[in-house]
């Protein structure tokens, strides 16, 4: 039966950590496919676009309507129709359908990209003047000067930055060990309990943010009366939001640690906790860091959980455990509804700072996510770690 030589090929390396983040994994036998646009396709497309534009232009001029958005929509619909008809007459119905679908899919993707670009651009345009009016001042000052007559150079988000860093930090410290341990448990066992927990984690990932805030308000702030509103309460609410996110992401990362590694360690007689600490976690480190940083980025901008719990405080409060505290999303929410162009401008400035923080975290997470498991790019202390491991071994 065992004729023929079986070559032992190594199992394919499970590619990217957090497949959702990494680049599209190339199939081992990806087929060649004609891509690119031929000259005739280009001509047909451009011709239809120009024809549609001309028609729309004439129609809107004749009707005397000035509506740029309406013109855009009308142009696109007309372009779609003309191009479809053209392809149908020239190439038949199948090709026409294919071309129109391609057009539709490109447009849909472009709409999504456009939305992202539009929001980032708008926040940048509106916020940059507040931040760079008197450059580092906006990042270090607090909001004690807030009022109808205040200038933008009086205001700042320093206190809010301190609050955000402390609250998100506490939430991270609480959730990361819990999340990773839960994830390890869920990967390791498949009983009804683990399945229930897994389902609950999934469901909680999309739970309404305001409920987390309400829950911690009832749990923490109500028993402690007004003094309960603090950075810690806000951090707890953020932790409620963050735990499912970190757990879910860590679960995916821990699950792709090769079983052979784990089994090799167990076969050598290592106890389970050592396998986790010395084999599973180091292997999954890049992925885990991606998961954690993404969780932090998602949580740093959450407003609803902190609304009832942080309290909001214009001046610096370095102590998250007592006294009300500001943070970035809370400050945006507070300033949006106050009258006055300057306060609005400060809200845009705060939004700009928040978006920058979140995007920087996101980019770090993506850079980490690109490194494969076991390989330790972007980890400066990796070499020291390696050496100590060898010595201990």
């Amino acid at each position: 039966m065992m004729r023929g030589n079986r070559t032992l090929t190594p199992p394919p390396m499970p590619n990217p950590v957090g497949t959702a983040l990494g680049p599209h994994s190339a199939m081992p036998d990806s087929p060649t496919r004609q891509r690119g646009i031929s000259g005739s396709m280009l001509m047909e497309g451009l011709g239809s676009a120009a024809a549609a534009l001309a028609l729309v232009w004439i129609a809107f001029s004749l009707a005397g309507i000035v509506a740029p958005f309406g013109m855009l929509v009308a142009w696109f619909c007309l372009f779609f129709a003309i191009y479809g008809t053209l392809c149908w007459r020239l190439h038949g119905v199948l090709i026409a359908k294919d071309r129109m679908a391609t057009l539709g899919i490109w447009s849909g993707a472009i709409v999504a990209m456009f939305a992202l670009g539009a929001v980032l651009y708008y926040v940048f345009i509106r916020g940059v003047s507040a931040v760079f009016e008197d450059f580092p001042h906006f990042l270090t000052a607090d909001m004690t000067q807030l009022g109808g007559a205040s200038k933008i150079t009086d205001l700042g988000v320093g206190a809010a930055i301190v609050g955000t860093v402390e609250q998100v930090g506490i939430a991270t410290i609480i959730t990361v060990p819990l999340g990773i341990m839960t994830a390890t448990y869920l990967v390791g066992s498949n009983g009804p309990f683990a399945r229930t927990v897994s389902a609950v984690v999934d469901a909680m990932t999309g739970a309404p943010a305001i409920i987390a805030g309400l829950f911690v308000y009832l749990l923490w702030v109500v028993p402690h009366k007004e003094s309960g509103k603090s950075g810690l309460a806000a951090a707890l609410a953020l932790a409620v939001m963050m735990l499912p996110i970190v757990t879910r992401a860590a679960q995916e990362v821990v699950a792709i640690v090769p079983g052979s590694l784990r089994e090799a360690a167990l076969a050598l007689g290592a106890p389970e906790w050592r396998v986790l600490v010395r084999v599973v976690l180091p292997t999954a480190r890049a992925g885990l860091m991606t998961a954690v940083i993404l969780g932090v980025a998602r949580i740093a901008g959450e407003t609803a959980p902190v609304l009832f719990n942080a309290g909001g405080f214009e001046a610096y409060n370095w102590n998250p455990f007592s006294g009300q505290q500001d943070d970035l999303p809370f400050r945006i929410y507070e300033n949006i509804f106050q009258p006055g162009a300057v306060i609005q401008q400060s809200a845009w400035g705060t939004s700009f700072v928040l978006v920058c923080v979140v995007l920087i975290l996101f980019l770090i997470a993506r850079a980490l996510g690109k490194s494969t498991p076991g390989r330790r790019r972007f980890v400066p202390w990796a070499r020291i770690r390696n050496r100590t491991t060898e010595v201990e071994a």
Partner: protein
């Protein structure tokens, strides 16, 4: 004449190279503690879930006792004076999610197909990153952007719809003359916040389509769109439905966008293109809770419980559908 009989297949399990055998070795004390720690850490998530339900139910009980059936029947919302009409809030939350899903689904599925099938290889990473980035931008920033820019931009098309399509019950405005602060505007902005979730889940499911079947479809002379409609979409139908449901759940619970954009009102109406129509649970909680009387708070907490349980059930259902789809494939 001898027939070449195939060698009998041994009745044991098929040859599998690397299934570890299970060894029942003694578990050390450290490992017992370790297992206990892992198990109890996963209890925390369950404890949070139970805590949310218990706390909200305990504090909402007072309102439920007084309000009872009036939560659905009463037209006005003013718990302090004994009016518990929450129907328009419930309907409003769902309506926002429906509008958001209707807008987001085509865009998301296009983006998912684009990333998986249509895009040039070099663009894939960029597109994936951009979709993830959409998920990272805080929802208060979307809300602020929507308040300052988009809700004004959508006013003109909304006016056009009201003028020309008022025979459709939805395309009306509750108060004449204004087209901002509407359910539609909220849905439009919320759509941006749920695009990433629908895209990433449906993309994941679509990418599990057996590549052979796709290549076979192309090899038989099908067009790329033919491959999509006849292979990819049938295969990932469940997953797409689940993804859309997940987006729907997210849309119901969307808080900051709605708080910033929607007008504060609650009136039962089918008109979604203007202010002073349907309300929203999340907005009502956010704005009334800090200053409310004990009865107000209790009623709002009860609404919060309803919102939480609804979203939870939608999410569990959606995940179940996605997972079933993946197993069936």
């Amino acid at each position: 004449m001898t027939t070449l009989a195939a060698p009998p297949i041994p009745p044991v399990a098929p040859l599998v190279d690397d299934t570890p055998i299970v060894i029942n070795r003694a578990v050390t004390r450290a490992d017992k503690v370790f297992r206990l720690a892992l198990g109890s850490s996963s209890l925390v998530v369950l404890a949070i879930l139970a805590g949310v339900v218990v706390f909200l139910a305990a504090y909402g009980w007072q309102a439920l006792k007084v309000g009872g059936i009036h939560f659905i029947t009463d037209p006005t919302w003013s718990p302090d004076s004994g009016h518990f009409g929450a129907m328009s809030l419930l309907v409003g939350s769902v309506a926002i999610a429906v509008v958001a899903v209707i807008i987001a689904t085509p865009v998301s599925l296009s983006a998912a197909l684009m990333i998986n099938e249509y895009s040039p290889v070099r663009l894939r990473g960029v597109l994936t990153g951009a979709v993830d980035c959409l998920a990272t931008v805080p929802s208060i920033v979307y809300g602020f952007w929507g308040l300052a820019l988009v809700s004004n931009l959508q006013a003109a098309p909304a006016k056009w719809l009201v003028t020309h399509f008022a025979f459709v019950p939805f395309f009306r405005t509750p108060t004449s003359g204004e087209y901002v602060q509407s359910i539609f505007a909220c849905g439009l902005i919320s759509a941006v916040t749920i695009i990433p979730i629908i895209t990433s889940v449906s993309r994941e499911v679509m990418s599990q389509t057996p590549r052979d079947a796709c290549e076979a479809a192309l090899g038989l002379g099908g067009t790329r769109w033919g491959m999509v409609t006849d292979v990819i979409l049938p295969f990932s139908r469940n997953g797409i439905v689940g993804a859309v449901l997940l987006g729907f759940g997210r849309g119901i619970g969307e808080t900051m966008v709605v708080v910033l954009i929607l007008s504060k009102a609650n009136r039962m109406t089918s008109a979604i293109l203007g202010p002073n129509g349907l309300g929203s649970i999340a907005k009502q909680i956010t704005e009334d809770f800090p200053t409310g009387t004990p009865m107000d708070k209790s009623a709002l907490i009860l609404l919060g419980l309803v919102l939480f349980v609804t979203v939870l059930l939608v999410n569990i259902g959606a995940r179940a559908i996605v997972n079933r789809g993946q197993k069936a494939g």
